[in-house]
């Protein structure tokens, strides 16, 4: 065991001996380090293409952009350390670590609920131990791009619920916005504190064959997953401590502090020390773990609809001491269920009269009501125009070419090319109701065609992207090995006084071979995502 550990340490340390502030403890160990340099490190790489061995022995990049290996099949500089360590590892060792990690998730109850067939089960979100690494340079670009995007979308929301200039100027067709199922007439003209609508965003990014990051969709309603980012990191630190020590990985620990600060910042005016609560649909919600996790991390109460009550246009929570005023609600309940007086009258999850309190400015809601209009998949096609319109800037992060099926010419193209395209419902999440053309049957395409014709505004189509792939552990008859699996990236953005992007995010991985669907509800897993503070 002891020798094994030393080997791991040396092979990891070798390429980066001069890069960090790491200091070896003793003469003896530094000698071992220099041996490591000769054996598996950068020097060897300069002269001959590396031999992939161990669990990487049969690894193939195919024609995809591989996050770990470059086009020559060499590990990218920022992956060298992880590559060296994993190459030296046996399947048994890797699996033992994986079992430990899984057990931690299960025991801590880091689970989500899967629905189907009328029953629901608690499951852990499959976790792949090979970390996804993003260089500082790449991240800076992502970060600036996301900030730009959130700023513009926020201005867009304010505009469509007030003066509607963008519609009057003809940048977006009027009926695209006002006819959108998620446009909430009920809040037209409502002013929100500091004009912030989207306090918390989880934007999905993907890389294509060239390695360029694209925005795939914005989740501006109640995006989930950030708790996995934080928990994955904890588990990773325990499972691969020695690798960690060698990378300058930016911490994700301040997320809950930042979140609380920004929720404080948007409290109704004049409230000094706001009482913040999280509103959850309850323990049967698939993201309940996350709601409880964030409440605890922020030190705020986790409420269900039945815990809150409205009196005189103010919101109170029922406590053992009587009613206590609530100022800010980070709600994880969808618009439709938020207030039976305004939206669905049959909702048992909401708070009767809540929207009235919000309109009166007596309580803040994060995110605001009605943000769904800005992450509608058809509006998405206009986001580059939205950025230019409000900010006068070129979009930093490109979007994926999107065909709107309610426009005749585009519909024609889509129907003729269904086999090559991905068709998505405009108003759904979780990967439900999608058609992935290249993986579809003729019958499925025909069914989709009929659905599009019946409801053209409800669908959009995009080219099937060759999503980047990442080495991921796959079990086989003799234990396991690494294979490329498609990944995406969901960074989290907080908008309060200013805009902050959590350095990291949720890398979701499609565990099923060749699958492009990464959603947890559809067989996806996740990876810890390391953003480096300094590049190699």
């Amino acid at each position: 065991m002891a020798t094994g550990l030393v080997n791991l340490i040396t092979s990891v340390q070798s390429p980066y001996q001069n890069s960090g502030s790491y200091q070896s403890q003793s003469q003896g160990s530094s000698q071992r380090q220099s041996q490591g340099t000769v054996r598996g490190g950068t020097n060897a790489r300069l002269f001959s293409p590396p031999v992939k061995q161990g669990l990487f022995a049969n690894y193939r990049e195919d024609s995809f952009y591989d996050e770990m290996f470059d086009e020559k099949g060499c590990p990218r500089a920022h992956y060298q350390g992880v590559f060296d360590q994993l190459s030296a590892m046996s399947a048994e060792d890797f699996m033992a670590r994986r079992r430990r990690a899984d057990l931690t998730f299960l025991q801590q109850g880091i689970t989500f609920t899967v629905y189907g067939d009328g029953a629901s089960t608690e499951r852990i979100f499959p976790f792949d131990l090979v970390p996804r690494i993003i260089t500082a340079r790449k991240w800076t670009r992502i970060e600036t791009g996301l900030k730009q995007r959130i700023r513009a979308l926020n201005l867009f929301l304010h505009d469509v619920y007030h003066d509607q200039k963008i519609l009057k100027d003809g940048i977006i067709p009027l009926d695209m916005v006002l006819g959108c199922a998620d446009y909430r007439r009920e809040i037209y003209g409502v002013d929100v504190p500091k004009d912030v609508y989207i306090h918390i965003t989880g934007t999905d990014l993907v890389r294509d064959r060239s390695g360029e990051f694209y925005v795939l969709e914005d989740n501006l309603r109640t995006p989930s997953g950030v708790s996995y980012v934080l928990e994955n990191r904890q588990v990773m630190k325990h499972t691969f401590p020695m690798t960690f020590a060698h990378y300058n990985v930016r911490s994700v620990d301040t997320y809950s502090l930042d979140l609380r600060e920004s929720l404080c910042a948007v409290a109704p005016e004049g409230v000094e020390n706001p009482n913040i609560v999280i509103l959850t649909p309850g323990i049967y919600n698939s993201a309940y773990f996350e709601h409880a996790f964030l409440a605890k991390q922020m030190g705020v109460e986790l409420c269900q609809g039945s815990d809150l009550i409205v009196d005189d246009a103010k919101v109170y929570m029922r406590t053992t001491q009587g009613l206590r005023r609530v100022d800010v609600i980070y709600r994880r309940v969808d618009d439709d269920y938020l207030d039976p007086l305004t939206f669905r009258p049959d909702s048992a999850l909401g708070v009767t009269g809540l929207i009235n309190c919000w309109r009166a400015g007596n309580v803040a809601l994060a995110n605001a009501v009605g943000t769904g209009v800005a992450d509608d998949k058809a509006i998405y096609a206009y986001t580059p125009a939205i950025i230019k319109y409000y900010l006068g800037e070129e979009p930093i992060l490109p979007v994926v070419k999107t065909y709107l099926t309610h426009i005749e010419s585009e519909q024609k193209f889509v129907l003729e090319h269904l086999e090559e395209l991905v068709v998505k419902p405009t108003n759904a999440s979780g990967g439900y109701g999608m058609l992935v053309g290249p993986h579809s049957t003729a019958a499925q395409r025909e069914e989709m065609k009929q659905r599009i014709l019946a409801n053209p505004r409800s669908f959009i189509a995009q080219p099937t992207l060759a999503l980047s792939r990442h080495p991921t552990f796959v079990e086989d008859g003799t234990g396991g090995h690494f294979e490329g699996r498609h990944v995406d990236l969901r960074p989290y953005i907080i908008h309060g006084e200013d805009i902050k992007v959590l350095p990291g995010g949720l890398s979701r991985v499609a565990l099923v071979k060749d699958s492009l669907v990464v959603n947890s509800s559809q067989g996806g897993g996740s990876k810890d995502t390391w953003v480096l503070s300094r590049d190699f």
Binding site: L106, Q107, Q108, G109, G282, I283, Y288, F289, A292, F293, A295, K296, V300, E301, L302, C303, Q304, S306, D307, I309, Y316, M317, R318, T319, T320, Q321, G322, L323, R324
Partner: protein, 326 residues
């Protein structure tokens, strides 16, 4: 504190304590039967030993509906695993976990993990494990799990209102359990009145003491030999032994007082008034008095008081919170 959270804390503690009490009873019962081999051969069944325990911990008719015959196997299946028994160990720990899950933000991560792990392990346990492992070790592990949980409550929770709700649930449940234990021994367990004070009787009273981890404590407080009235007196009236009814009521009163004080209330509210009354009565009574006026009746009355306090707590703190806070 949210009323719903207070209620969950209270019931989480009650259910966990209930699971521990049932585990104790079973452990001691099985152990005691080993000492009673001769008598059991005479009777030809272990039913007289299991029926009383089933009776005090669950609705007996439900047990009969499920198992036509009382055997050691059916009793243990019913008390440990059975989903139909609202008080089986697995169901209790499951409910404690459900309560914990509904307010994960209000308890420490350590507490949640402990309760979650205990539940998951128990749920996945093969039922025959009890025999392979040995009943003593198996039920011992459940007892230890509960005590580890209490330790985590002690060391990881803020001494705020939430902690008091846990104490309240724990001691109310425990007071109730001890009265049931004393009651069942005095009226049901004994084969016949002739045996009172005989060797069988002594073995049984020792078992009762052991099921509350009270044997050693009793020996310290009583030099004289074991007599039913001394044992019952110790378990009901001692003010230093943590499972004695009077000690429990002291704690119940203290927690209710702290909650009132935290709410800025000087006057006693209804649950506290009852608890004070019970405490006062226990102060002024002796075991001889209790036995003379009927041990069974007195134990039933104490159980009624526990029920009433629980009901008043629900009305006062969990459901009635519609006033505006001061």
């Amino acid at each position: 504190m949210l009323s719903r959270v207070a209620e969950s804390l209270f019931w989480m503690a009650r259910y966990y304590e209930r699971a521990e009490n049932t585990a104790r009873l079973m452990d001691v019962n099985i152990n005691m039967m080993l000492d009673m081999g001769e008598y059991m051969q005479e009777v030809g069944s272990s039913a007289p030993y299991w029926n009383p325990i089933i009776r005090i911990t669950s609705p007996f008719d439900d047990f009969r509906a499920r198992f036509p015959k009382t055997t050691q196997e059916s009793a243990i299946e019913w008390l440990t695993w059975c989903e139909d028994n609202p008080n089986s160990i697995l169901v209790c720990i499951g409910r404690a976990r459900e309560n914990a899950r509904a307010m994960r933000d209000a308890i420490s991560s350590e507490m949640w993990e402990q309760i979650n792990t205990t539940y998951l392990q128990l749920k996945d346990t093969d039922h025959s494990q009890i025999w392979r492992e040995g009943a003593h070790s198996f039920f011992g592990r459940i007892r230890m799990a509960s005590q580890l949980f209490q330790g985590l409550v002690e060391t990881t929770m803020l001494r705020e209102e939430g902690w008091q709700w846990i104490q309240l649930g724990k001691y109310l449940e425990r007071a109730d359990a001890t009265t049931r234990l004393v009651d069942v021994k005095y009226h049901i367990l004994l084969p016949s009145l002739d045996e009172v004070g005989g060797p069988i009787d002594n073995v049984q009273w020792i078992a009762v003491l052991k099921s509350c981890s009270a044997y050693e404590a009793y020996q310290k407080r009583n030099v004289a030999r074991i007599t039913p009235s001394r044992v019952a007196g110790f378990l009901v009236l001692d003010h230093t032994f943590p499972r004695a009814v009077r000690f429990c009521f002291d704690q119940i009163r203290l927690s209710l007082r702290s909650i009132s004080v935290e709410h800025g209330l000087l006057e006693e509210r209804s649950p506290e008034i009852i608890a004070s009354h019970v405490r006062h009565t226990l102060d002024q009574t002796t075991m001889t008095g209790i036995i003379q006026s009927g041990l069974h009746q007195n134990m039933i009355q104490l159980q009624d008081y526990c029920g009433e306090i629980s009901q008043k707590i629900t009305q006062t703190y969990f459901q009635g919170a519609l006033r505006h806070a001061a």
